[in-house]
């Protein structure tokens, strides 16, 4: 007999889900609301929720003071660039690990994962010095390189998991049908792995878009992406919550919209393989 789901449990589950969802979303909502307040209302005590004089002044000020579009373009170039390069490296790597594993494959995978446990600040100084000597500080290329390397383990791991789900028989069939390694990957493996590759791509763009440690430390003005744009409103000006919120809202809006439209793909990709 299938497990009975009563209306009562359904209602409770729905309530819990909504509570968690609202809790997670609340800070973002608060930021968006604050961006429409005056500086005085923003720090009012007790806080004002919805009933205040809505204003677009903060957005105007932010627009006047900084070049949003330049930061936006930097973010786009850096996140898409690092993701595309990452995928180009990770696809062959994941193929090799999934389909022709060697004795050390497991160890290599674990080692790659372990690099994610290293606190980034631990390698900041050497990396900063290298970047300085190579002239990569405050360049888009430099950031693309660093973010590619930072996220490569995750990309390889995700693709490896997806590739493992593809039956070896099918790749062998392609080999028997006369496919070279290249055609096997292009005509058989990649089309079958499209959902996995798409969600890897999306997730990685989001991670790269939101990455704040390296983007803040290795940039100044030229290649600063939106994370640096937000940060520029927090320190030098003192605490101007409303303007900071406006800048934040502008910075997260593109990725939030992309995430909204691709949520089906993301969820499908992230739960891929969980249910056969």
């Amino acid at each position: 007999m299938a497990r009975a789901v009563t209306n009562k449990t359904k209602a409770i589950n729905t309530a819990i889900a909504w509570t968690v969802g609202i809790l997670i979303f609340f800070p973002i909502l608060w930021t968006i609301l604050t961006s429409f307040k005056s500086e005085a209302t923003a720090i009012a005590d007790p806080p004002v929720f919805l009933f205040f004089d809505w204003t677009l002044d903060n957005y105007t000020t932010v627009q006047e003071r900084s070049n949003y579009f330049r930061h936006f373009m930097n973010s786009v170039v850096i996140s898409i660039g690092s993701t595309v390069i990452g995928l180009a490296i990770a696809i062959p790597a994941a193929w090799a690990m999934a389909f022709v594993p060697g004795k050390q494959t497991k160890n290599v995978l674990m080692w790659m994962l372990s690099t994610k446990m290293l606190p980034p600040v631990g390698v900041l100084v050497p990396l900063y010095l290298l970047f300085r000597d190579w002239g990569l500080l405050d360049t888009r290329i430099g950031l693309v390189i660093v973010l590619t390397l930072i996220n490569l383990p995750i990309i390889i791991w995700m693709l490896y998991t997806y590739f493992r789900e593809i039956p070896n028989d099918i790749l062998e069939a392609a080999r028997m049908d006369g496919a070279t390694l290249r055609s096997e990957v292009i005509y058989v493996l990649l089309p079958m792995a499209v959902p996995g590759i798409a969600s890897t791509l999306l997730l990685n763009i989001i991670l790269a878009w939101n990455e704040a440690f390296w983007t803040l430390n290795l940039t100044a003005a030229n290649s600063a992406p939106l994370t640096a744009f937000i940060a520029s409103y927090s320190s030098p000006e003192g605490l101007f919550y409303a303007k900071l919120s406006a800048a934040s809202t502008m910075a997260i809006a593109p990725i939030l919209i992309m995430g909204w439209f691709s949520q089906k793909q993301l969820v499908r990709g992230l739960t891929f393989g969980a249910v056969k």
């Binding site: 392609a174 028997m176 049908d177 006369g178 089309p191």
Partner: protein
């Protein structure tokens, strides 16, 4: 052409030797079945021929040309997998055309070949469907279609019918045999089912633990098994083996008699009927307390009724008796 020769071919995975050096010749146009219990190395042997596994030693030749170091794509062989291994993202048409695309064939040639194959396999109505929309039997036919379009030197079948239900299996068995009649191309077929082996093969290769136990025509193996293993593996229900004094009377360590070679009625052997299986065309009796073996299986033609517990007398057809020595080899 599709003459395949294996010379001293062996295969080890790490320290474990799965196929000790073996020699085998498969003649052009032959239908050869590799049969044996699971883990006997029959699939591995097929994959060595296909090139999906590398040999650890020895030489494989296809039509006289050395093929040992050729990748699968260059061997000119086609394979049908147990899981069908169709490309799920392609239509039936594209699946069948894939080997032709890889061979760089022109669009017109591809189209006509795919249509011809679809016609042969009754797939014309399904050409624009995807594998997910087909039944098991149809999928298997697509897999066969993908194999025949390329006109390979030989077809390799790796337990192609194991995933089908019993009725479909019998039908597909016939279709594959008819295909062989029509194409006259070499076929190598792997199965653990001795009925498939007996019904389809020109030549059966019986394998055990990577060793070839015997090679021969189905009836040759049935009539003249080289040893006890082959004797018991070929034939259904399997051969009765009797050891001890009764075997001694025939100057053997053990004697074997097939269920269909024991007559019910008069005779020197006596036992108590256990379970009877009525097939309509035949009746199988499992006879206990014979003093010869734990149980003797007897096949009586037609419908014969004996209740459980009945005593019956049995008489082995002495000219059909097989005698085996202490090592299990047949005494001729």
């Amino acid at each position: 052409m599709g003459r395949i020769t294996l010379e001293k071919v062996r295969k080890s995975f790490g320290e474990t030797q799965v196929i000790p050096p073996l020699d085998l010749t498969i003649e052009d146009g032959e239908f050869v079945v590799f049969v044996g219990p699971s883990g006997c190395g029959k699939s591995t042997l097929l994959r060595l021929i296909a090139g999906l596994e590398d040999v650890s030693g020895g030489e494989i030749r296809i039509d006289g040309r050395p093929a040992t170091d050729l990748p699968p794509a260059k061997r000119g062989l086609a394979m049908v997998f147990q899981s069908y291994a169709l490309y799920p993202h392609m239509t039936v048409r594209k699946n069948i055309a894939f080997p032709l695309k890889m061979a760089g064939m022109s669009e017109d040639e591809k189209k006509s070949r795919v249509e011809r194959a679809a016609d042969v396999l009754n797939l014309t109505d399904f050409l624009d469907r995807r594998p997910g929309q087909l039944s098991g039997g149809q999928r298997q036919r697509v897999a066969i279609g993908r194999a025949i379009v390329r006109e390979p030197a030989a077809f390799l079948f790796d337990e192609p019918l194991s995933n089908l239900d019993a009725a479909l299996r019998v039908g597909m068995r016939l279709e594959i045999s008819e295909l062989h009649e029509r194409l006259k191309t070499t076929m190598i077929y792997v199965t653990h089912d001795q009925v498939e082996a007996m019904t389809m093969a020109d030549k059966i290769v019986v394998l055990r633990k990577g060793n070839i136990e015997q090679v021969g025509s189905p009836l040759d193996l049935y009539r003249n098994p080289r040893n006890r293993f082959v004797a018991e593996f070929i034939g259904s229900p399997k051969m009765n083996i009797v050891e001890g004094a009764e075997a001694g009377r025939h100057d053997a360590h053990a004697i074997g008699i097939r269920p269909e070679h024991i007559d019910v009625g008069e005779g020197p052997w006596e036992g108590k009927v256990g379970v009877s299986e009525h097939l309509g065309s035949d009746t199988f009796f499992h006879v206990h307390e014979t003093g010869l073996a734990d149980v003797l299986t007897v096949r009586a033609p037609g419908e014969v009724n004996h209740r459980a517990g009945d005593k019956i007398r049995l008489s082995p057809q002495l000219d059909k008796l097989h005698r085996f020595d202490r090592d299990g080899l047949r005494i001729t």
